[in-house]
Symmetry: D2
Subunit: 346 residues, 4 copies
């Protein structure tokens, strides 16, 4: 087994809590398509976690979760407001447009990947003629692609603009657990209490094999969503293998523990290089990613030492931490960054 890299939080495997639940679920026969007891338990677990009687659906991945959720909020001639660095815009290969049969994404130029009430208002108000798709939804990424989080107050402020403008509010929570951990906030505080209509809660980056939960806080929006999932190839026949891991994650608290660990690793790296003068943070570290401004020579030297990482928006070098990131290996990375950036000091 190769040494851990921090290029992506998708490189990690399945955490023990999820794996053991999947193993437990693998006993004998069970009804298909979600009529099994694991799926019921997982949905109930989410309702307890969110302290509300929400509707819960399990789909295979985040791209599908986001696209299906947005398609349920829009018609093809509507549009969705998002940050220019949002995953739906930059890394889903046009999936939102495909699932919705054409809904356009309207991107806001942001510095840090975070929408603001002003940005939403400006885009929503820019056009009101039928020659341009009518804004119908806003999507926030929590935490953002650049590792930032929205506070409950920030979400509520955006939600207020949405209500006034007839927009629905979707949250891409591929790293929702990391945001909860970062803010030490209850899931309800970051979602329906702040005005979120539908959340895609990410399981894959949180320690599962596959599977995201689509959670409707406004149950009317979930009408026929099961048909939508089925038609779009997102209804698992052996659903228990998607849902049981969630039971393991929710009952054990691993969903939060995993996220805390990943976030802590990110902070650990930051602390380890805080005094290296040639290196600066490209973005505040609020979740499980660290974005560094590294001189080209430092990048090259790190790669020569075997480290893998992506160049990201604006040229920053991205390091992502997962539920199982090894602190010793984080320290090794910090040490190498220091060495590469301060060769004389070494």
């Amino acid at each position: 087994m190769a040494e851990q890299q921090f290029a992506s939080d998708n490189y990690a495997g399945i955490c023990p809590e999820a794996f053991e639940a999947m193993q437990a679920a693998n006993a004998g026969h069970a009804p298909a398509y979600g009529a099994d007891s694991w799926t019921q338990a997982a949905a109930d677990g989410f309702r307890r976690l969110f302290e509300t009687d929400c509707e819960v659906f399990f789909v295979f991945n985040g791209t599908a979760a986001n696209s299906l959720a947005l398609a349920s909020l829009c018609q093809s001639y509507h549009s969705v407001i998002c940050a220019d660095s949002a995953h739906v815009e930059t890394d889903e290969c046009g999936a939102p447009e495909f699932f919705s049969n054409g809904s356009k994404l309207l991107t806001a130029a942001t510095e840090d990947g975070k929408l603001t009430p002003d940005l939403v208002r400006a885009i929503a108000g820019k056009r009101s003629d039928i020659h341009f798709p009518k804004p119908r939804a806003v999507t926030l990424t929590q935490a953002t692609e650049t590792g930032r989080v929205y506070t409950p107050e920030e979400i509520a402020a955006i939600s207020a603009v949405c209500r006034a403008a007839g927009l629905r509010l979707h949250m891409d929570g591929a790293r929702f657990a990391n945001a909860c951990a970062s803010l030490d906030a209850a899931p309800a505080e970051l979602t329906w209490k702040a005005g979120v209509d539908v959340l895609c809660f990410g399981g894959t980056k949180n320690g599962m094999a596959v599977g995201e939960a689509v959670i409707f806080f406004d149950r009317r929006l979930a009408e026929d969503f099961d048909y939508r999932c089925k038609q779009a190839g997102q209804l698992a026949s052996k659903m228990r293998y998607l849902s049981a891991p969630w039971v393991g994650m929710l009952e054990s608290g691993a969903w939060l523990g995993n996220a805390r660990h990943a976030n802590a690793c990110a902070r650990r790296l930051v602390q380890g290089i805080a005094d290296v003068p040639a290196v600066s943070l490209a973005a505040p570290v609020e979740a499980n990613g660290v974005f560094l401004n590294l001189p080209a020579a430092v990048q090259e030297a790190l790669r020569a030492r075997g480290w893998q990482f992506y160049g990201f928006i604006g040229g920053a070098s991205r390091f992502m931490f997962a539920w199982d990131s090894d602190p010793a290996r984080v320290d090794a990375l910090a040490r190498d960054i220091r060495l590469c950036a301060m060769p004389a000091a070494a």
Copy 2:
């Protein structure tokens, strides 16, 4: 754990060979989106199994596999010829039409769920004006929804009609392994050697948790298929969990062993009730399903004894067997059918 039912082969769990491979894959980190070694090994395994340099993609379920494959053969204004009882027509909630943005399914009325050269020719030749979607593909289900199989010769005869009419040939192989086992035929014989362009090889019903393989024998048809999967929400980030089980299935031969077992259970049931006069086969038993003509009173009596099964096409009662069906339980079912059908004899 409840007693085994034979209502669906989706009720079974993950077989040991698949589970152990998944467990083995769950060691440390691995590159995402299919760049891992398990995915490479699984694709190579299929190339060995099919004795040809095919292109292999892994998606989440059969609905998606079929729909993506058909969409890659068609434009929206094209049509697909299928049997009236084909899964794509009856049980995918319009997924083929959704993924292709409108390709119409043209159904042939069949007695046994099997297309024939004449049926294909008749439908393909019925209309040639632009007011009706142009036929562009044929899809065969192997084995069919009613448990029938196509011989290599039958497939080749249909393929000849396809070539002559400019149609491409797709095979829905949700139960492809059962067909191989039934015919004792090599996978290559039932596919590209007989003229099949693309096969969806089912893993779920064969003993896996999720995951079907889409196999293009004509590699040109696979152009940009990876983009198609990504956009449609069918690219797993932690791909190893979809591919590793295939490695386990292919290397151990469980893919075939599982199918043989399931088929044998079906035959076992048939033998167990062969001499019950009130019960007849609604269809020859060639794969892992048994379709029985049961008098209403017998159905009722069986249900009263706790047996679950579906009423199917034409009123037949369907019993499906899986990789782990318990022969003793099959015998119990046979015994109960006998009892219910011949109360006097009991």
Copy 3:
């Protein structure tokens, strides 16, 4: 100019009332996209004709009108119940599926192209699981492809089934005027008073160049329909040329006069051949089409004499009459049918 044929009512040109209005509209400049006075007048004309405050949109042709209207009633995972001979099923090249991104048409086998309450109920009730598209709308063709009409009572009976089953009711009125003429019924009687939600009122077959009106009696269903038209390439910039002809047709009464004339020509043909023993009606003649059972030799002889006509459903020979069909030419056709069918008598 060649002699008139009766192969299609699309062969006719623009009637004087429509042409003159278009000519009158072609004076100087006018606001685009429907903000002109002709479009306002045409919409008001429809509101007067239907005696209700309906929403009216003008699109280019019948295929688009039907597809856009159905798409506004359905999501992609819904289905639409129609007769097996309905134009949306047989002659629109998959347009309903394309515009709706996959809504399936569920066809009822009918003898005469007419749906009945029982047929609708049977199809609507056949499946209620998520593996099959959920029925959401019914579409009636008035008059049908085979020249039959629905009485207000028949429509109301179907509408009652729709209400009970949560289905919306669409009417394909490519030949709506012919139905009004045939039944001597007010447009309101055949639509909203009988429970129709949305009507596509055909202009082309009624004597216009292009242009159908989509009329929503339930205004809530028309929400954002203008965006839908625009996105689908169905918003005319110089809208006055689509709407002005309607002003001419409605104000002059030509919409009804044209239909009466066409219907009368159909009856005239029937009367002219009533006593020819070898020839029978394949369907009662209620609108502007005549469907004849003609022996093959008679068909051949007619074609040899220069007559053009289509073989239609069930082998019947179709003759269609338009606003400008020449009675003398109808008589000539009758005479030739008689001659060909009764050579000895000639």
Copy 4:
């Protein structure tokens, strides 16, 4: 009749040459769906005009023409490179995404609405991973939304980049005639000789009621395009009314004469205000539009005098001229701009 405004070139009516041809076509019966002699003559006329054996289709409007053409070049997971001010991006309500079922538009930030080889190369080369739609086509607007034209050399340079990058080249020619007139260039020089694969030739803004021609120079790209048009609701049954006006336009040369007149009116306005110090051109005037930087007070004063015009990209005021713009009225506008901008001088 109100006095002429220059807010849009869509406000003008049908020019005599188009109207007379439509009137001539309105004689008796004609085969439907393009099998008539007018449609044949119009297509032949385009082949003569372009000096090549191109494939020609007639559709209802520019939004549909562009979207259908682009959809024929792309799959849903592909993308199209365009200028940020392109009509397909800003004024077609997501039609390209709808017709293609999701193809994304990748916009280049341009100063003047014109793409360049460098811009195309930069966008085409930015991403090559499957998480982003693969660039497959480039669309140029000739003349652009801001009244600029591409020279044959500029088009050829872009085409060379396209060939190298596997991109097809589409031209949105809603004002193609204006570009030909402006450059005094043969249509062939501006299209296939410079590497354009498919052109949408605009009829509406050129003096027709409805109707654009989609012209494929690479006939292989036109495969089944007739089905595509039919399914998308863009096949006129009475096609002669779309095609006959083209015959009138092409045979009389009105297509070019109309454009020359409109362009001349634009230049006339520019000359009339050349010495007004407070007013400057926001863009060079190369076609039939004039974009002026007008102080807010001047705009207000002009509107108070009854002039209508749109605020456009970057705050410029847009004035558009049509085939029938009245030179005296252009002079009146020039006079009023002068008056409003130089009240003291008045």
